[in-house]
Amino acid sequence: MLACRDLTVAYGDIVALRGVDLAVNAGETVALIGANGAGKTTLLQTISGLNKVRSGEMLFKDEPLGPRSSAERVRMGIAHAPEGRRIFPGLTVQENLIVATAAWRRLGKSCEAELGQVFDLFPRLKERRHQLGWSLSGGEQQMLAIGRALMSRPKFLLLDEPSLGLAPRLAEEVYDRVGRISKTGLTILVVEQNTVLALAVANRGYVLETGRVVLAGSADELRRSDRVREAYLGR
């Protein structure tokens, strides 16, 4: 589905990703773990076309992404639930969801089927569909951010720290839904600092440290590796 080859990305003089090689196959859920500032968000934003590639390349479904705009990438099937949720605060829950259908919806076409799917997955959003975005709790906003990404009919879902700032019980609830989405066959790349939660839903994972991939393997291998246990699982 996605392949990054020798990818380098920089903000001016600050090099955030150095020669990253990474692949996500169709149907897989892949976890990307790493400490603060490792470059995880930078990688997801680069996949979505918000950051420029300095060198190396990215292929999506075997096609080079090149200089395509974010809007075009969404039309190709890349959806993004950004770090910090970034719900549109002055739009209602339903409007937040409808906005993300721009990629495929033509004038006069309905998106009731997609709305129904999101509301089945997150019934709480249905109850609050006419509430403004800013008035939701953190957990509800995260569910809305994921639901919003699903509205674009994605083939590849990018999730940036969905557990960020959530109480443990809520974080588990969110990951329960990520697991369900993954079971529908959707390909997912999830960035996370909560390594336990992320490795529980992922088939494989990558560990990023200061812009480099330092470890890659199946979820089980990573859970057992000394490096991950010491640095990210705290034992």
Partner: protein, 291 residues
């Protein structure tokens, strides 16, 4: 009493013009962050577009109005292409100064084209008066107030009930995420400028018969619309509407009951009081909606 009804009607009609100008100002500001100091010139161009189609070309009313609004839509698209697009990557202050400069340019181009002599502009209600048992009020003024009410309703429906309107609000609240959701931000911003120009054009067509078409009419309108947005709450659409009507009423009532020399004192005095004591304006607390 009879007098008061007349004054209120005229005040609301003038307030309608200020409200529409302020709305154009606010939709551009919230979508692009640009304080468009050429907003008053947009109204002037609207009035002269009407002069060109109705007077110079002699087209009949409905065709002339539609023609003038098509001209305004093109004007908005052109403004987006040759003023906003080249400047959008510059610091916001540069863009603002750019709008001042282009406003002066537009004014002088109008002066070269139409001269400094004021033109009368026709209205479909020319000479028509409505008799309210003793008080006669101008049919044009009533039509202006009704048309403005309808336009505000249509604008609300556009922003809340159509995909393009919801997308425009999303862009205004978070451009980066709007991109991530697949919105074509540049097209939406172009549409925003076109919408603002058409609103200003309608204001200009309605204002023409109330004043005269004068190439210098843009500045006083911009100042009043600016006062309206400060009083209503900078960036707030309901604020632009409430502020516009307030300034229009204050101007007309002030001229009649205080002195026409001081008619602007009330509106600008209130604006200064708001700046000092409630800088967020009447609807200012809603600013959190914009994140």
């Amino acid at each position: 009493m009879a007098d008061l009804i007349q004054l209120l009607t005229n005040g609301l009609a003038l307030g309608s013009i200020y409200a529409l100008t302020a709305i154009g100002f606010v939709i551009v500001y919230s979508a692009t962050g640009v304080v468009n100091f050429a907003a008053g010139q947009f109204v002037m161009v609207g009035t002269f577009a009407g002069v060109a189609t109705l007077v110079n070309a002699g087209w009949p009313m409905p065709v002339g109005y539609i023609g003038a609004l098509v001209v305004m839509a093109l004007f908005g698209a052109l403004f987006y292409l040759i003023v906003y697009l080249p400047l959008r990557a510059s610091p916001i202050v540069t863009v603002i100064i750019g709008t001042v400069a282009i406003g002066i340019t537009i004014q002088n181009m109008a002066l070269l084209t139409f001269g400094s002599w004021p033109f009368p502009v026709p209205s479909p209600f020319d000479g028509m008066m409505i008799d309210l048992g003793g008080t006669v009020i101008s049919a044009h003024a009533i039509a202006v107030v009704i048309a403005t009410g309808v336009l505000i309703l249509l604008l609300w429906l556009l922003m809340h009930r159509t995909a393009i309107g919801i997308a425009m609000r999303a862009v205004a609240q978070d451009v980066k995420v709007a991109r991530l959701m697949g919105l074509r931000v540049q097209w939406l911003l172009a549409f925003t400028w076109i919408l603002a120009a058409v609103m200003a054009g309608i204001a200009g067509l309605m204002l023409g018969p109330m004043w005269f078409a004068d190439v210098n009419m843009g500045d006083p309108i911009a100042l009043k619309a600016f006062a309206a947005t400060v009083i209503g709450g900078f960036g707030s659409l309901p604020g632009a509407i409430a502020g516009g009507f307030f300034v229009g009423l204050a101007e007309v009532l002030g001229a009649s009951y205080v002195s026409s020399a001081y008619k602007d004192l009330i509106a600008f005095g209130v604006m200064i009081l708001f700046l000092l004591f409630r800088p967020q304006g009447i609807f200012g607390e809603k600013i959190q909606d914009r994140g």
